[in-house]
């Protein structure tokens, strides 16, 4: 296993960071936050269309570039660093892997080339967005009709719902599970919710006896029993990478501030109490980041119980890291850290929101412990 980026990966990373530093700078993120949309449409069209980031996650067989989990993590880390308000995670880390795990050949061929081309953004209506296994529950019920299916139910929080051109909806169909796709004109109700983290959109999805055609069902009857753990692991990994990137972003904001702020005739960066706290965060960041890319490499190699545990480990560390990096940012900024004008609060809110998605650190540690004690070997 080689954990050093190759030339192509380095290039992707540098270009992504350079682009977002310019196009998702603080002022731009603030415009999105102030507008209350949680979505920067212009930025998304550049990312998905001109830059072709979505193509990286789509296999070559479906007109994508077929790059691996490491490249996925690189993009998510870059997006996190600038709090890019785009449905990138939903599309490439949640949507594409779920389609690859569950969708029929026809359905894949229908959606994946369009995703690769940057034509559509995808959201996933996880039944339980707060759980380590977000597909463990669904409140959506489907029933077969002559023309197709009828869908009913409500999903309280769907990330990037309004921004998405296609929503993937897992539903209960009798004793089975089925995966449906709702395009914008499908007739479902979308309600934008006001969010604490203004950089990520959340919507409420409601279907009231919604009639959909037979082709809306993507799994061709094969969802039940299909292994979706790999798709969930990819979503977890992408989120962890994004959290680590955001931690880098907020730490750089802090480092820049303490290097400027002068008290007692010296920059506050020169005080050991400040230096040591920044240094500790840097150690934690390196730890979480190493785990993210290590887990990306093992996930690329295939999914086993060990891989799932590593991905959970990455989430546990990344969630803690980002929260501490952003709370330290507020503290080390002093009074201005408490103001709307300075950036720490943007990261602080993202930190809390991201921490709650797909399992808290405690949930992930519990999963790891279960693996250690109930399923055999320890280390």
């Amino acid at each position: 296993m080689d954990l050093v980026f190759n030339d192509e990966q380095r290039f992707i990373r540098e270009e992504a960071r350079r682009f977002l530093a310019d196009k998702s700078a603080s002022e731009r993120v603030r415009q999105t936050v102030n507008a209350g949309t949680g979505f920067d449409a212009g930025l998304w069209s550049a990312i998905a269309g001109e830059l072709g980031w979505c193509a990286m996650a789509v296999p070559e067989a479906h007109d994508g570039l077929g790059l691996g989990k490491t490249e996925l993590a690189i993009l998510m880390e870059a997006a996190g660093e600038r709090l890019a308000a785009v449905p990138l995670w939903s599309t490439i880390c949640a949507g594409v892997p779920l389609l690859l795990a569950v969708a029929s050949d026809e359905a894949r061929q229908h959606y994946l080339p369009r995703i690769a081309a940057g034509e559509i953004a995808v959201a996933v209506a996880w039944g339980n967005a707060g759980a380590v296994d977000p597909l463990s529950a669904t409140a959506v019920v489907a029933e077969a009709t002559e023309a197709g299916y009828r869908l009913g139910g409500r999903v309280a929080q769907v990330i990037d719902l309004e921004a998405a051109d296609v929503v993937l909806v897992p539903a209960r169909l009798g004793e089975d599970l089925a995966l449906f796709a709702l395009e914008r004109d499908a007739g479902h109700e979308v309600r934008r919710l006001e969010t604490l983290d203004g950089t990520r959109q959340i919507g409420e999805l409601t279907m009231r006896g919604l009639a959909v055609c037979a082709q809306s069902r993507l799994d061709g009857g094969a969802y039940t029993g299909r292994d979706v753990a790999g798709a969930v692991a990819t979503a977890q990994l992408g989120l962890a990478a994004e959290q680590v990137g955001a931690a880098r972003g907020v730490m750089d904001v802090t480092l820049a501030y303490v290097a400027e702020r002068v008290q007692f005739g010296r920059t506050i960066a020169s005080f050991q109490a400040v230096k040591h706290r920044c240094a500790r965060l840097e150690v934690d960041l390196a730890e979480a980041r190493a785990l993210v890319y290590g887990a990306a490499a093992t996930l690329e190699a295939g999914l086993g119980a060990e891989t799932a545990r590593e991905v959970s480990a990455a989430r546990a560390l990344a969630s803690d890291l980002l929260f501490r990096a952003s709370e330290e940012a507020i503290q080390l900024h002093g009074g201005v850290g408490f103001t709307w004008e300075y950036d720490p609060h943007l990261y602080f809110k993202r930190a809390q929101a991201a921490c709650s998605l797909l399992g808290s650190p405690e949930d992930h540690l519990a999963v790891i412990a279960a693996g250690m004690f109930e399923e055999g070997a320890a280390a």
């Binding site: 980026f5 150690v283 390196a286 412990a369």
Partner: protein, 394 residues
């Protein structure tokens, strides 16, 4: 090199260890690591010679100097297999990992011919004479003096070295001493090689909190170093001393991680037996330890790589802080899992091992640069924050 080569090497090391770490060497398994350094010293020296006979000492040295010329990846494989087999702490570590590479890089041909064979063969052991009572983290504050006798060329050395690991079991010491009258800080130092068995040297063991004594004070009172035993030039001792520390690239840390993993396994086994594994709070802590260990593994792979990126540079600076604090926390976790059982001493080898872990891991965050020094280095060299002000001279 191909994955096949690595697999082949792994198989070879595994088989060799299985063949040799048994019989009279059986008691050495898992012994002699940090904190347990004075366990079975004579048998461990014999073990070094056993390793040497199999050409497993100094495998990373170039072949011209008697090594195997193994790449970093191959050395990692060796260290991992050595650790998995329960290979004992290496008595020859200072010679193999620090002194040898330093001589290969800076030594004269005579010095290489004189010293490398003894290190390789496990017949001569080395210890490190850097720290002094007033020169710990502030190594530039060295006060041991070396004066050259103009008639013989001999260096006469007086002063006190401290925290000298295994000096009582070693044959030679390398000493950093002040050779220019009135010099301060990093200037005016000389790097000398000295035999310990001579009239001007007295070694006094220091009893540690774990009860053992692997550290020593080394008192030098007009002890003698031969003129041909200066490495580099007099006055350039600091350069040699720092280069020597640079040779410790941390390859051995992967073997060390194998020992860490075994410690965590042991803690889990005890937790299962005594029911601590049913406590949700304890499970969280144990899971967290697993997470830290796994991260450490990937971090080590990045730290050992040739990556020259900014991230890699910062990761290297932070690695020691990460593993040492993780290990110290593991010691506390071990005791908490054992509960009141941990209050009793003796009679139970597993308990004893974890008690030693608890006590000795306190040193992890002190030696080789304390936590506080590590954080300064990360902040200053990694994050570009202002340097600490220096008080006075020296």
């Amino acid at each position: 090199m191909s994955a096949d080569t690595l697999t082949q090497l792994r198989t070879e090391v595994r088989a060799w260890m299985a063949d040799h770490l048994r019989g009279r060497f059986e008691p050495l398994r898992y012994r002699g690591n940090a904190g347990d350094g004075d366990a079975f010293p004579e048998l461990r020296k014999e073990w070094e010679r056993e390793l040497a006979a199999g050409r497993w000492t100094c495998p990373g040295w170039p072949e011209e100097h008697g090594g195997r010329g193994l790449s970093v990846a191959e050395q990692v494989v060796f260290q991992e297999e050595y650790g998995i087999a329960g290979g004992p702490g290496r008595m020859g570590h200072i010679g193999e990992g620090l002194m040898g590479p330093t001589l290969i890089a800076f030594g004269t041909q005579e010095q290489k011919d004189r010293f490398l064979p003894g290190i390789r063969a496990g017949t001569e052991y080395w210890c490190q004479g850097y720290s002094e009572p007033s020169a710990g983290s502030d190594l530039g504050n060295i006060r041991t003096r070396a004066r050259q006798d103009p008639s013989t060329g001999d260096w006469h050395v007086s002063g006190q070295k401290v925290w000298t690991s295994l000096a009582h079991l070693s044959d030679w010491i390398f000493v950093l001493a002040r050779c220019e009258e009135g010099s301060v800080g990093r200037n005016g130092l000389v790097f000398l090689l000295m035999p310990l068995d001579q009239p001007g040297v007295e070694v006094q063991p220091i009893r540690q909190i774990g009860g053992g004594a692997e550290f020593n004070s080394v008192f030098l009172d007009d002890a003698v170093a031969k003129p041909e035993h200066v490495v580099g030039k007099p006055g350039e001792g600091w350069k040699i001393a720092m280069a020597l520390l640079g040779f410790e690239r941390g390859i051995s840390t992967l073997g060390q991680q194998m020992a860490f993993a075994q410690e965590l396994d042991l803690i889990c086994a005890i937790a299962r037996e005594n029911g601590a594994s049913r406590s949700p709070a304890m499970r969280q802590r144990i899971a967290k330890a697993w997470v830290g260990l796994r991260a450490m593994r990937y971090l080590a792979m990045r730290v050992l790589s040739e990556d020259t990126s900014e991230e890699a540079r910062r990761e290297r600076l932070g690695y020691k802080y990460h593993w040492s604090n993780w290990h110290r926390d593991l010691g506390k976790l071990a005791m908490d899992v054992m509960g009141t059982e941990a209050n009793l001493v003796g009679g139970d080898l597993r308990r004893e091992r974890l008690q030693q872990l608890f006590l000795f891991s306190r040193a992890d965050t002190i030696y080789g640069g304390t936590n506080e020094i590590q954080l300064n280095l990360i902040a200053e060299q990694g994050l570009g924050m202002p340097r600490e002000p220096r008080g006075g001279l020296g």
